[in-house]
């Protein structure tokens, strides 16, 4: 967290990018006569994107920075297990990512006089907590890829907006083609985001139990996948004697 305070890019991630997406979202989705559910996507979408971006890439980037600084082997060799170090980095990222909602809600309220008219506070809070859990699991699972494969950064960085589409951060996934909805269904955040938006409206289905269950179930699968990846890293590092991938 302290490192992020002095990083201009970290400030961009929580302040600037979410603000830009919120402004674009509000202009596109808040025209005259716009339905309330659409407005919710504009108000919350930018913050959710910022939160996801930081969780999704920040942990991995911190590993990449360790590699570029030549310190990756050292943190691997310390007595503390690698997954504990990565978990700490990811938790720091998630806390930092929560700041993304400050500029987006401020812009929506002060710049566009936009407010969420109906929020089911209890369901919203549970959905948000489950979303955070899924972000944590995704980040913990993806971060080892940065230590295993050099190409993980361009691929994951390149597909950043693909996740925005598949998870329905700023529009419902039901608008997507069936095959894309199928791909999105494999991503835990998709279900939690659906629950979050459903808690801001009285319209549409309200299958919270199913959505929360799907998120938690997929999150557990991700954690099992992460355990496998951490063992793989350790095995490969012991065989090759390095993690620099040079």
């Amino acid at each position: 967290m302290r490192l992020r305070v002095v990083s201009p890019f970290a400030v961009l991630a929580w302040l600037f990018f979410p603000a830009i997406f919120t402004v674009v979202g509000l202009y596109v989705l808040s025209g005259p006569g716009t339905a309330t559910p659409q407005l919710a996507y504009a108000i919350l979408g930018g913050g959710l994107l910022g939160y996801w971006d930081i969780a999704y890439l920040d942990g991995g980037m911190s590993i990449q920075n360790e590699r570029w600084s030549g310190t990756l082997e050292q943190i691997f060799a310390v007595p503390t297990p690698l997954w504990v170090i990565i978990l700490g980095k990811v938790c720091g990222s998630l806390l930092w990512g929560l700041l993304s909602f400050l500029p987006t809600i401020a812009i929506a309220y002060l710049g566009f006089h936009a407010l969420l008219p109906h929020v089911d506070a209890a369901r919203f809070t549970i959905s948000f907590a489950i979303l955070s859990l899924s972000f944590l699991a995704v980040a913990v699972m993806l971060t080892p890829l940065f230590t295993l494969w050099r190409w993980a950064l361009p691929m994951l960085n390149g597909f950043e907006m693909g996740f925005y589409i598949l998870c329905g951060f700023m529009f419902p996934v039901t608008l997507l083609p069936t095959w894309a909805q199928g791909a999105g269904a494999l991503l835990a955040p998709t279900w939690a985001i659906r629950a979050i938006y459903a808690s801001t409206t009285n319209q549409g289905p309200h299958d919270f139990g199913i959505w929360w269950g799907a998120t938690v179930g997929l999150t557990v699968i991700y954690v099992i996948g992460a355990l496998f990846l951490y063992r793989l890293i350790e095995r490969r590092a012991r065989i090759s004697g390095g993690l620099a991938l040079a």
Binding site: P8, F17, V28, Q38, L176
Partner: protein
């Protein structure tokens, strides 16, 4: 001179660009721009209906040229600093004009290729109808916009010589263009002050010109005006940037 420029352009491509590998190219030059266009087109369809998909597709495809022109050009300068090779570059006897323009040239070509790929995929995914569009004029606009955004990139790239946070500058400029240049909503919806800023950017004119020509909503005199403004940007950009670069390099 042309041979030196061509050789320098090729070497810049081979040596400098992180996307020079196939996986890097797929990540940064296929996945990123294509998903960006698809995301905003889908957002636009959610907000305004499917009939407006082409409006959003054109705007965001042109915005992608800025990704190459601004990000790409600034990053080449910033990477020299990050990799510790900037002092050697400054101390070398290489012609600096050729060196920096050849970097911009790679990004202009790259921007054009990215727009073609991104727009083609969007047309297929959303079933857009381009039969009545003037594709030759569209191609001309894409080339012109790529050149002007690369000029803007060179201008901000010069700042990369004096600051460590050139990539931060690139991000700020790139994403501000997304809001200011009428990519996803008309410039007339912005506050008046921001409208003036918007019309001072080449991308706004390029987007207005291209959309107008493809959708058939722009009269010839207006189109000529936008083209003239873009050409002025190309000439003025080069005239302003080169002395700035030279001064920074001498310092």
């Amino acid at each position: 001179m042309v041979a030196i420029f061509a050789r320098s352009t090729y070497l810049q491509y081979v040596a400098l660009f992180q996307w020079a590998t196939i996986r890097g190219y797929v990540g940064y030059k296929v996945l990123l721009p294509v998903t960006q266009i698809l995301f905003f087109v889908q957002l636009g369809v959610f907000g305004s209906g499917r009939s407006k998909a082409l409006y959003f597709a054109l705007g965001n495809a042109l915005q992608v040229t800025a990704q190459a022109g601004i990000y790409g050009v600034i990053a080449t300068v910033a990477n020299e600093r990050q990799h510790g090779t900037l002092p050697m570059l400054l101390a070398s006897p290489a012609n600096r004009l050729v060196t920096f323009l050849s970097r911009a040239a790679v990004n202009v070509i790259d921007g054009i290729v990215t727009v073609v790929v991104g727009l083609s995929i969007t047309v297929v995914v959303f079933g857009l109808d381009l039969r009545h569009a003037n594709l030759l004029l569209l191609a001309f606009c894409v080339v012109l916009i790529s050149m002007t955004t690369a000029g803007l990139g060179l201008l901000f790239g010069a700042l990369g010589l004096i600051t460590r946070d050139a990539i931060t500058i690139a991000n700020v400029v790139y994403y501000l263009l997304l809001v200011l240049c009428g990519i996803n909503f008309p410039i007339s919806r912005l506050p008046l002050l921001l409208q003036w800023v918007a019309w001072a950017t080449p991308l706004s004119h390029g987007v207005e010109l291209t959309r107008g020509l493809v959708l058939g909503t722009l009269a010839i005199p207006q189109a000529a005006l936008h083209i003239a403004v873009l050409l002025v940007y190309v000439v003025a950009g080069a005239a302003l940037t080169l002395p700035l670069l030279r001064r920074r390099l001498v310092k």
